[in-house]
Assembly symmetry: none
Homo-oligomer: 207 residues x 4
DNA sequence: TTCTAATCGAGACGGTACGTCACGTCTTTGC
DNA sequence: GCAAAGACGTGACGTACCGTCTCGATTAGAA
C-alpha cells in the first residue's frame, strides 16, 4: 500500500501521548474518493472530506500537507490494485488487455476528474510530481514493461536493453492515447478501438 | 479564429448600446497568458487578470462565464498559430515536423500549466469539453489529415475514406503521446524522440 | 408643484435641440413611488426605477443628481395634496384632524420607508436638508400655523408673535409624536389616540 | 446589557470549540461608532468596520446578520449609559433634566447619522424594529416611568394605573418631540426649549 | 427644407461593496 | 499529546449598483 501518512512527519520521536488513529486514515481516504465522485476535483474541499470522514479538519492537516497530496494517496490506493492481465497469447492480446484495464481505471469518476488535475498541479510543484510518479505512474509503466518482456519471451519482438527509451515511448503511446481518447475526445475505449490501437503499436514494435 | 466573445451572447440582434471594446478582449487574453506564465493555473485569479488588463472585473465576467472558458480562449489564440510545416518529403519527416511544432507549443509555460487543468475540468463539464475541442483540439486534427493526404499523394500509404475511425485513432495517438511525453512524463520532445514516434506511427499506417 | 427638473441645470441658454420629455418626468416619479412601495428605500435602485418608467438610466441622471433628490421630489408630489381639514369647531378637533391627516400620509408605504431615510441622509448633506425642508416639512408646518390661527380667531388661546418659537414647538410635538408612534412604537394612530394627544397639546397651549 | 452577540446563536449547548473573542466584540462596536462619526450611515461599510477593528469580515458576519443589527448594538451601548438625573424637585425640572440628557445623546454625530436611518429600515423590517425597541427605545421609557413616579410621590399629579396608555403617550410625546427637534428640524435643544416642552407636558399631565 | 444640437434608448465601462466560501491556523474542552 | 469542535485572519469569489461613457436614432426649432 502506498504510504498514507505524510512522510514529512517523522514517526521517530513521538512516543508519548495519544497515538494516531489508523481508522481515521482509512476513513479519510475513502471519504476523499467519495467526494471526488460526487463533486469532482475542483469542487472538492477538505472541510467536506473531514466531515464525511467524521473527523476534524485538524486531524486531516496533521497528516497531509494539502489537497494535492491527499488526493494522490487516495488515488494510489486504487492503482495498487492494478495487475497484468493473464497472458493473452500474443502481443496484440496483451496490449488490448492492458489498454482495457487502464481505461477501466481512467473511467472511474474519481480518477477521471482528479488525475489530470494532479498532473496540472505538478507542473509547478516538483515534489508533487515525484509523489505522483512513484505512487501512480510507475505502477502503470510496470505493466508495459512486463508485457514487453512476455512478447520477447514469445519471440514476437527482439530483446532490447531495459528500461530503455523505447519502453518509455511505448508507455507514452499507450497511456497518452488512451487518456486522449477517454478525456479529450470523450469517446469510449471498447474492445474494437483497443484492438485497432494494439495493431498499430504491435506493427510499430515489429517493423 | 478563436472565439473570444462568449458564444452564448449572440452577436446578431444587438444594434443599440455602446459596443464592446475589442481592445479589452485582446488585453484580457494577453493578461491571462501572462498571469498563467507567472502564477500557473491554480494561483491565477480573475481579479488579477482584470487588473493586469486594465479592465474591471465585471467586464471580464460580461464576456466569459468563468476561469475555464477564459483560459480556453487565451490558449486558443496560441494554437491558432499552428501551421503544417513545409513538405518534408516523406511521411516520417512530416510527422516529425508536426510533432516538434506541437511540442514547442506544449512546452510554453502558459500551456504546460493550463492544458491539463482544462482537461481535468472538462471531465465534469461537457460544455467545457466541447469548447476545448472546437477551440483547440480540432485545429490540430486538420494537420494530421493534411499530412495523411500528402502521404497518400506520395503513394506511401493507400487512400482511405476520410474522416474515418483510423484518422481519429492516428490523431489520438500523435496528440495523446506528445502531450503525455511533454506534460506527464515531463521529458523533452527532441528530434530523436520524435523520429522514434514517427517510425512507430508510419509502420502502423503502412502495416 | 415642486420643481421636478434639477434646478442645477439652468433653463436659460437651451434653445435648440430636442426638448426634454415632460411625460418622462411624470413616469419617473410615479415609478419611484411604485418601487418604494414594493421594495422600500434601501432596496430601491435607480436602474430599476428607470426600467419601470420605460426610460434609460441616462435620462434619469440628466434630471436628478441622485437617489436622494429623486425621492424627495417623488414624495413632494404626495405632500402637495396636503390641506387643512375643515374647521372642526374647536382646537382639539382641529388638532385631531391634522394628526389623522398627517398619520394617513405617514402610513403610506412609500412614505413610511423613505421619509426617515431622507432625513438620515440629510444629517450629512446640508443641500438635501434644505430641499427636504422646502419641499416637504414646511408644507406640514403650514398646517400647524393655520390651525393655531383658527384657535386664536376663536379666542381659545391668546395671540402670539408668529412665526415664533412656540409654533415651532407645537410643530415638533405633533409631528414628532406621530412619527414616533407610527414608526418606532409601530402602533396605530387612530381617533382615540389622536384625541388623547390633542387633549394634551391643547391643555399645554391653554395652561 | 446590550445584546452584542447575535441572539440567533444560542449560547447554550456550545461547549467545545474555540470560544468567541470578547475583545473582538468590543473592538467591533467601537469601530462601528468611529466609522459612523467619520463617514455617516450611508458611507459606512462592514469591510471598513472590520479593518478598523482589526478583525476579519467573516468574524463580523458570524455575529451580526448585517449592518442594521450591528449599528443597533453599537448605539445601544451608548444608550446603556443613560440614567435619570437627580431629583429636580418638580415635575418640570425632572422633565428638563431628562430631555437635556436625551438630547445630548441624540446630538452625538454617530447617533445623528444613524438613528433615523435605523428607523427607516425598521419600516420594512419588523424584526429590526423589535431589536431597536428592546435595545434602545425601552431603555428610555424607564426614565419616563420613574420620573412620573416621582411626581406622583410629590403629589404633583394623581396616581394612575401603570403602565397604561397615558404613560405610552407621554413617552411618545417626549421622545418623539426631542428627536424631531434634534434630527428633523435640526435645531438646538437648549434649556429654554426644554423648559417650554416641560411646561407643555406638565400642563397636559395636570389638566 | 434642411440643418443642428440636445434628447432618447440601450448597454458597455471602471469602480466599490457586497455577502459567501474555503483555506490553513489557532484555541478551547475532553480523552 | 491527540481528538472534535469551531472561531480566527486571509483572500478570492461572483453579483449588484453606482455613475459615466459611447453608440445610433429621434425630434423639434433655427436657418
Amino acid at each position: 500500500m502506498s504510504q498514507s501518512t505524510d512522510p514529512g512527519v517523522p514517526v521517530e520521536g513521538r512516543r508519548t501521548g495519544r497515538p494516531r488513529s489508523a481508522a481515521a486514515d482509512r476513513a479519510i481516504l475513502a471519504a476523499t474518493r467519495a467526494a471526488l465522485v460526487e463533486l469532482g476535483w475542483s469542487r472538492l474541499t477538505l472541510g467536506d472530506v473531514a466531515s464525511r470522514a467524521g473527523v476534524a479538519k485538524t486531524t486531516l492537516y496533521r497528516r497531509w500537507p494539502g489537497k494535492n497530496e491527499l488526493v494522490v494517496d487516495a488515488l494510489a490506493e486504487l492503482f495498487d490494485g492494478l495487475a497484468l492481465p493473464p497472458d493473452g497469447g500474443s502481443l496484440e492480446a496483451d496490449i488490448v488487455g492492458v489498454v482495457l484495464r487502464f481505461a477501466a481505471l481512467l473511467e472511474r469518476p474519481e480518477v477521471r476528474s482528479a488525475l489530470m488535475a494532479l498532473i496540472a498541479e505538478g507542473a509547478y510543484d516538483a515534489a508533487l510530481r515525484d509523489r505522483i510518479r512513484s505512487a501512480i505512474v510507475n505502477r502503470q509503466k510496470r505493466l508495459v514493461l512486463e508485457g514487453r518482456a512476455r512478447a520477447v519471451h514469445r519471440r514476437e519482438i527482439p530483446p532490447a536493453p531495459e528500461p530503455g527509451p523505447q519502453a518509455d515511448l511505448i508507455f507514452d503511446v499507450i497511456a497518452g492515447t488512451v487518456v486522449h481518447r477517454a478525456l479529450v475526445s470523450a469517446e469510449p475505449v471498447d474492445e474494437t478501438w483497443a484492438s485497432a490501437l494494439a495493431a498499430l503499436v504491435a506493427a510499430g514494435l515489429r517493423g
